[in-house]
Amino acid sequence: MTRYLLTRLAQGVAVVLGAVAISFLLVNAVGNPVDALGTGAQLTERAHRELIHQYGYDQPLPARFADYLSRLLRGDFGTSFRSEDSALALVLRALPNTFLLILVSVVLAWLIAAPVAIRSVLKRDSRSDRVVRNGLVVIQGVPDFWLALLLVIVFAVTLGWLPAIADGSPSAIVLPMCAIALPLVSTFVRMLRSQLLEVMTSDFVIAMSVRGLSMRKIVLRHVLPNALPPIVTFMALQLGWLLGGTLIVETVFGWPGIGDLAVTATTQTDLPVVEAAIVLTAAAYVLCNLLADLLVVALDPRIRVAGR
């Protein structure tokens, strides 16, 4: 068990290092941003050279990477080019907002998806099951940022029930949450359904139904708990994918998360913030996956016995 977790930890560190390398290459591959400012009345030749020296762009690439790494290890992600805040603080302020949004959206999506999937398994291949599943295929293709705008038209503009932008009120989370959750429902149902069907082929299910337990009871009490561990792993692995949709929806609502931050930083060429966003998102992903590993061990006693 310890050895398994240590391996996973080492893999996690490798992933974060990879993210560090990618963010470094991304920012340094195209020359230095000081040149892009140009020289002239606003920026003298001398100030230009000083800026290049100040940001270390006169050093060779490997030396800069080493410097970048050692800075990161000390928790120094640099200062935003646009404000006086440290890039680390900006990202750390945005990350919890993004995770909150993902969390409520995922919970909402599961609240809808779980009953649908269980019903679909119980009434497998019935007419209503087919209708629901076809409906889910249609929902899956709906672009979330477009859905977000449609929700704004209906609930914010026409009905005036909910705020269209994140104004700090608690109700501001409702529309972004719905826009992210609805497309997720389709994926979650398909996933849980196929997991449930797989567990249903186990011998214990046949044994139970022979002993006269109702199918409903078997699925809810015995099949569902067995289908959960792979789903926890899946959810953690797909966190990056969950984040993807959230990023764009955030920009629609001005939700102060990592997506909004990254888009703003990008349009302003705020490179330290760009770097910090990539590295810290990858680190958060690794952390969540380690937690999911522990959760799976807690959910599935067989793994503990096997001493993986």
Binding site: P143, Q238, G244, V252, G259, T269
Partner: protein, 292 residues
């Protein structure tokens, strides 16, 4: 896009093609949508106004106006013409990205599965990395540095897109290389390259076809999302995302500028999913993919 589960053909390879004569409904509907979109995209330049033509005299016309069946935006650009032109560019981007991704991914997957060892381990770490950095975050951040021409966008989108091919092909090759036919080919004097191309590559065909048709939809969504946040395809090139973003400013007055491009986009993504599912059924493989 990442693969969450794969089901491989259960029976011998040759028996697959003749098994079902009728096309599954999902495939028929999907192909019908694609054909309709293609007709619109190809006839657009002949019948519709220039999508970039602005005319404030005919600005903000509602749908079903004379000469503008889907209305015009706040600058008088024809929404239908914009959609037709966006289909062309989106299709160009999606097909290019999927082609590049499939070629690279299949080659890497074949090698990783066949050679194994350090190369394989390196590949799996790359897969971890691809999962850890949300592609959209990478695109957004990269766009700040490398600009945003059509070619740059295609290259950017291709960077994480080859990974799912490498994963499914690798898994398939790990199974296939243990077959007696592979050992027989080697004994008969076939080179490693010969085994890869003639024995292992054909076995991955249906998986790659299904994955590619599903991936087209995701690439469409990515391309549009980038253009929506203002760092993707931009005028004079047209994109659904750009028009949706433009329409956002006048959401209350001109809902059609947002609604119609999004609807067509949703239909195209739906078509990609339907064709992927239908082909999977036809070829008897199942590739469950998720991403955004």
């Amino acid at each position: 896009m990442s693969v969450t589960s794969i089901r491989l053909p259960g029976r011998a390879r040759g028996a697959l093609s003749a098994r079902r004569r009728r096309w599954p409904t999902s495939l028929v509907v999907g192909v019908a949508i694609v054909v309709a979109a293609a007709v619109l995209a190809l006839l657009g330049p002949l019948l519709l106004p220039d999508p970039n033509h602005q005319d404030l005299l005919t600005a903000a016309l509602p749908p079903l106006s004379a000469g503008h069946p889907l209305g015009t935006d706040a600058l008088g650009r024809d929404v239908l013409a914009w959609i037709a032109s966006s289909i062309r560019i989106s299709a160009l981007v999606a097909v290019s990205v999927v082609t590049v991704a499939a070629l690279v991914g299949v080659a890497v997957g074949l090698l990783a599965g066949y050679v194994g060892g350090a190369f394989d381990a390196l590949l799996m770490r790359l897969v971890d990395l691809q999962l850890a950095i949300p592609p959209l975050l990478l695109f957004i951040c990269a766009a700040s540095v490398v600009g945003r021409s059509l070619l740059v966008i295609i290259v950017l989108l291709a960077i994480p897109s080859w990974v799912p091919y490498a994963r499914v092909v690798r898994t398939r090759v790990l199974v296939e290389r243990e077959r007696a036919s592979v050992a027989a080919a080697r004994l008969a004097g076939a080179s490693h390259l010969g085994v890869l191309v003639r024995e292992l590559l054909p076995a991955t065909r249906s998986l790659v076809i299904v994955l590619a048709s599903l991936q087209l939809g995701w690439i469409l969504l990515w391309e549009t999302a980038l253009s929506f946040v203002g760092i993707g395809v931009h005028p004079p090139s047209t994109s659904f995302g750009y028009m949706i973003a433009q329409g956002r400013d006048a959401l209350a007055q001109q809902w059609w500028v947002v609604a119609f491009p999004g609807l067509v986009l949703a239909l195209l993504v739906l078509a990609s999913n339907l064709i992927g599912d239908g082909l999977g059924e036809q070829l008897d493989v199942e590739v469950e993919v998720t991403d955004a």
